[in-house]
Amino acid sequence: MFNVILFIMTLAVLIYSFKKDRQKTRQALKIAYNSFRNILPSMLGIIGLIGLMLALVPRETIEGLFGNNSPAGILIISAAGSVMLIPAFIAFPLAASLLQAGASIMAVSSFITTLLMVGVLTAPMEIQYFGKKFTILRNVFSLAAALGIAVIMGVVLQ
């Protein structure tokens, strides 16, 4: 149902855009195609990993580590989220599969919030643009915020 609405909506917007400006619409489709091509390798990789995780890692392991909101589990998964460099597009299916495999909402939320807000691997690039002080401040504040948001989500969305 969601997919059907999305397809119809996209098609409507696309037709409208095409009527207004062919050149821009063509450029938009090119951007769409390039984004898809760029994301495809990591998408296939992550989807493969999801399959392996669901098949090989016993539910008890994931439940034991990330299922009971233990501080250690939350810290591990937040560290992973802070360091990993995967596009949000693929992060959500991965997060969904973690939930499916027995992780708690709080753990999965902290994975997503840290992944989106904290960038350890991109910090050198951020320093080049904004300087060291800015980068440290932004990442430290974001980490605190990410954990706070995840804890509240874990409590609210029980």
Partner: protein
Amino acid sequence: MKGHLKKYSLFMLIVVIDLILRWRVPTAGSTAVSSSIDYLVEMLLFIPPIFVLVGLLDVWAPRKIVEKHVGPDSGAKGVVISILVATAAAGPLYAGFPVAIALLKKGCRLANAVIFLGTWATIKIPMLMMEIKFMGLSFALTRLILTVPVVILIGYLIEKIVEAGKDLGSRNPHREVENIS
């Protein structure tokens, strides 16, 4: 060609593991392959229209308007515009860095640039659709409602601290930024 192959190395490694699993541990192997295929189908039905929307937003989103309305004296209006434009953006956080720098150079205040970056990273519209699809509406909405005020708060906090660290004579909050870039 070689770079192309390298990009797919994780996928190829997994295919090999899947094949070995199928051969040695058939049950685990078929679970792995079938759950991967389930996710793949779900994503392929969903991602192409999203990317078309991303492309359209990228082409039509008026970046000029931002440059006009996020200057040093912009208050709430600047914040709202920073957020709206960033939600329509495409690309990962680090793709937002040069855009934020461009805004700063045009005279955008530091808080708005940080808010722009925070929004860019956390609540882009196409990304939200993906989130609603896989995590559910209540998850996505809760995260959105909690994230917006926090992003704004971080923007003002960073501006305050960076500005306080400057010489008293200099009132330009992003001088350091300009020198570096």
